[in-house]
Symmetry: C2
Subunit: 114 residues, 2 copies
DNA sequence: TCGATATGTCATCATCCCTCGACAGATCAG
DNA sequence: CTGATCTGTCGAGGGATGATGACATATCGA
């Protein structure tokens, strides 16, 4: 089993990590700022979560002095969208009305998890 | 509103459950047929996974005699798409080219984690 | 140089969960 | 009714994982 495949889904399984991703959606943040926004966990826990997100390719790191700024990496998004498209390809009409997206052409792309 | 936020992401974290969802994308299946397609786990494990998927609202159940046919429920898909849209709203161009979808309008509000 | 700041890593502990066998309930065939 | 089939649930066991404090590394300021 390809170890790379499930890393993204494993990373998204934790609510703190999803909270980190939503915080980074507003732009890059230093680790300290992230730890302040994520409630209920300490700084080292946030650091561990950032490691998981980095392993999954969901975030990228930029070093500047003592700080490390994290930001969203759009690369694995296609894996998520691809999986949703594969599972829900027969229900795209309802997806459109709920999420505000429309199919570009009649045929659908595949290749998501392997 | 969605009663539980993280159930969908937790359900997607397990590779066997993702395999089940992909099998159901072809149409409804009985539990026995699902257990035959999912490699590496026994029947009771598949039954447990189906319970998790049912709790998360990802699948629906239809009873017919001794059989129970499971099929994809498109309802929680909007939660997945909504989360992806929130996290990657600044990278939608790359998403379009990778997944074959296009935004319908400029704005799109949704709640992902609750 | 020395201290403060910012962050990662490690060991530990508690908890969660995946997996399985055994059993139970329901339904069909004879 | 009797047996076979289909599926869910329960309890146990083993491995994975999240949270934390102590420590290490690197950088900035005086």
């Amino acid at each position: 089993m390809a170890p790379q495949g499930g890393l993204v889904f494993d990373a998204l399984a934790d609510p703190s990590r999803r909270e980190i991703l939503l915080a980074l959606a507003d732009g890059e943040l230093a680790v300290g700022d992230i730890a302040e926004r994520v409630q209920g966990v300490g700084r080292t826990t946030v650091s561990s979560h950032l490691r998981v997100l980095r392993m999954a390719g969901l975030v990228t790191e930029r070093r500047e002095g003592r700080f490390r700024f994290y930001s969203i990496d759009p690369t694995p998004a296609s894996q998520l969208v691809g999986f949703v498209a594969q599972v829900y390809r027969d229900s795209l009409d309802e997806l459109r009305s709920d999420a505000g997206v429309a199919p570009r052409s009649a045929e659908g792309r595949s290749s998501a998890t392997g």
